[in-house]
Symmetry: C2
Subunit: 470 residues, 2 copies
């Protein structure tokens, strides 16, 4: 079912389509303070599932959750020169509290490297304390000049990991492990988004890092979105905050560190990667509601049957919801399920049920066909599996088709008008990168020719992925 | 095993014992901005479990999670007179952001009634939209003059529920349902804390509410701690923010509302209700780690056996951890497990294992006995069950013993020196309540004589529970 009347078509105006989906699917609203957002239940349920899936993967690589304060003394940020330079323009500052002016202004955290390192300095004493891998789920504030819901908001929700290691090699390996095993695996397997996992150029690096790794995804309009980053911090913050440990042989050394984060921005990426003119399409493995059972007409026998189908699906491990609001028109409820991207809709009408059937509507391929009531559970399960893969395949095919290999800066600019371009880093270089920037085109990341993550920034034959981005 | 040398004994100095436990069990640290706290992994794991258990119960009574912004325009708070009066002295105010002075100062949320109602005014149109039950997990800021970790911190983590109903009766019933089925059930069944569920007097009501219900717990020193509150807001905020709906008969009416919250303060309550001179005692149903398997000596056969025991316990659904850090002394690791309150410790030493045995140490009763290796799983499961109940029974017995029935204000004051007192509300009254307050003794709540929650504040024979409190 297509619902062109509800949403601005993607081809007409993609940014407006994005705003329409967010409003009509009741995902979020703008908050009263510029750039803030309210995440409504339908949108929050997506984030909750992302949170849970990422949290499991973070714990699987040894991360432990903790909580660090929202408020950071302004002086902390100044201790790492590049870091404060990068974040100063975006800070929100508390100057008054408890009815008085504060002696030292307090910054609302834009990220927590500084405050966390001030505690690492106390907690890390010996090599036995390493590696130390903490993760914090929280809200952060960066005052945005051009806010856009989910993608660039003054306040956003995220997790930030912060780790200490005894050696540079161990820190490097952890930054890579988080990028590939936590972020990359989650995004490809659960979000069904084929992300390019690469290395940022010096120009695009996190303020204070010696190396930034990134997951980049192509949106429906061909632009890129940075979905998550993992940084090697070297010993920059360790020196600034004096985080030292005693080695097994009795020497004092600075720790080697990483930090890494992924945020509610991923919700925006999900919408823009998979959505179509009828609304959101949620990958089944992520979907808070994988199947919705819709009672077409007010009829006790239908309702009873629907409850039974819901029970059977739940027993089979499907996240299922029941829609028996027969005082709302069937069409409106069907459109609502389409807008919200529920992968499978099972419609129970009087005629079908009398014939021992239901109608199974698959949001992702857009098919609609009768199934025997006795086959609803296996048909739903197989649809969920197949459609997860289909969503991924579609996104991958789009990216492949819109990421030509080019050899010159002009060709790259041309390709970036509609999609991405792959260009040898040696043919582009930092000067070329600066010229691209004049056209709002950036190097999203560097990979090896086969698309894999390089070990170093000076490997030969690196490929630069260039694009306009959100 | 008792470890008197590590902690100040409770009888010597209860507040200092509390601080000692928090430091030694590595639960939390003070943040650099006065009154803020860092919740360390061991403390955060407790909160994570509380979050999960409460979240399930909130969803079971129809709550949907959402997220509202941290920043609230200052003008919003002024719209409800009692509310702004109650919170003004505690506000943290952002005056500068993005490098500029803001046109209107922005308040860091102390609670979210105002901003949420500004959205309810848009979302609620018809009786079909009701009831609307939203819940927000977040951090809030109240500038505290006398901060104390977990109990009273400038920033804390909590959930706040906000609901709209078509009738006063429905709102009242929901406020009661949340208090009893969400908070009360969670605290008694999971935290093993026997809470008194009662009604606040007008003096102790939430700023802006027409009725506040509360769960009150007795701490180890006899003081009371408010563990969670559920408010009937009447139509106060609905009028201030113009939240109206169209009834089935076509009239416009203001909604009736509730709000309710529970916070990281519960972690403090858990420590002070169940802790002893050896540290924390965590109720098994809450415990992030229910059983820890401790390898006594560096020996491959012991390690192999330990891994097997851990696997068996995990398969049986026990949350289990393995401690095979044989480079740290056995005594130190045992003390650490005691401090952190792990309910069951299974020690595998060479002699015991050769004899086909392990030593099972139960933190709550403080017993230590050999068990056959083949019986570790059932013995652990039955210890976890029994000790959950024991913890509850101990807390209940202490409260009963220290809550005498009294008839006069003087007797009440006397009892409140060491515990609580129950006094007929008719014998105390608001004047008596004011006199108690001069001695820092407050009416924690009103219940019926049998301890049950009254329907109204003017029921005859109400009992006032009076105490000093945190």
């Amino acid at each position: 079912m297509s619902t062109p009347s509800l949403l601005t078509p993607q081809r007409t105006d993609f940014p407006r389509w994005y705003q329409d989906v967010i409003a009509r699917a009741e995902l979020a609203d703008n908050g009263p303070v510029r750039g803030t957002m309210v995440i409504r239940p339908t949108g929050y349920a997506l984030w909750e599932r992302m949170h849970r899936e990422l949290d499991d993967r973070i714990k699987a690589v040894g991360g432990q959750n903790a909580y660090f304060p929202l408020f950071i003394p302004e002086s902390y940020l100044r201790r790492e020169a590049e870091h404060v330079e990068g974040f100063s323009p975006e800070l929100a500052v508390v100057t008054h509290a408890g009815g008085k002016q504060l002696d030292e202004p307090v910054v609302v955290r834009p990220t927590s490297e500084t405050i966390i390192n001030s505690f690492f300095a106390r907690w890390v004493q010996s090599y036995r304390d390493l590696p130390l891998k903490l993760n914090n789920w929280s809200n952060v504030v960066r005052w945005e000049m051009r806010p856009r819901v989910f993608l660039r908001t003054t306040e956003f929700l995220w997790q930030e990991g912060h780790t200490c290691h005894a050696t540079q090699a161990d820190a490097r390996e952890h930054a890579r492990e988080v990028l590939t095993e936590v972020y990359g695996a989650f995004m490809t397997e659960v979000l069904a988004i084929p992300v390019i996992q690469g290395r940022k150029t010096a120009r695009e690096r996190f303020a204070g890092a010696i190396n930034t790794l990134t997951c980049e995804a192509m949106m429906g309009d061909g632009k890129a979105l940075q979905m998550g980053t993992s940084h090697e911090l070297g010993q920059n913050f360790a020196r600034a905050f004096n985080v030292q440990f005693l080695t097994a042989s009795g020497q004092r050394e600075y720790v080697w560190q990483t930090s890494w984060g992924a945020s509610t921005r991923m919700v925006g990426g999900l919408i823009m990667c998979h959505g179509d003119d009828a609304g959101l399409r949620v990958p089944p493995r992520l979907a808070p509601v994988q199947a919705i059972v819709l009672v077409v007409k007010d009829d006790p026998a239908l309702r009873a049957r629907a409850h039974q189908v819901v029970g059977d699906l739940r027993d089979a491990g499907v996240r299922v919801a029941l829609d028996e609001r027969t005082d709302v028109s069937f069409g409106r409820r069907a459109i609502d399920a389409e807008l919200k991207g529920v992968p499978v809709r099972i419609e129970l009408g009087p005629r079908e049920v009398t014939a021992g059937k239901a109608v199974l509507v698959r949001r992702i391929p857009g098919t609609k066909e009768p199934v025997a009531l006795t086959a609803v559970v296996p048909e739903t399960a197989s649809a969920l599996n197949a459609d997860q893969q289909m969503l991924y395949d579609q996104a991958l095919a789009r990216r492949e088709a819109a990421s030509p290999h080019v050899e010159s800066l002009d060709e790259a600019l041309q390709a970036a008008a509609h999609g991405w371009a792959r260009i040898p880093w040696s043919a582009l270089g930092e000067l070329g990168e600066a010229r691209l920037a004049e056209h709002a085109v950036t190097v999203r990341c560097l990979t090896r020719p086969d698309g894999s993550l390089p070990d170093r920034g000076d490997e030969p034959d690196l490929i630069a992925w260039v694009a306009r981005s959100y």
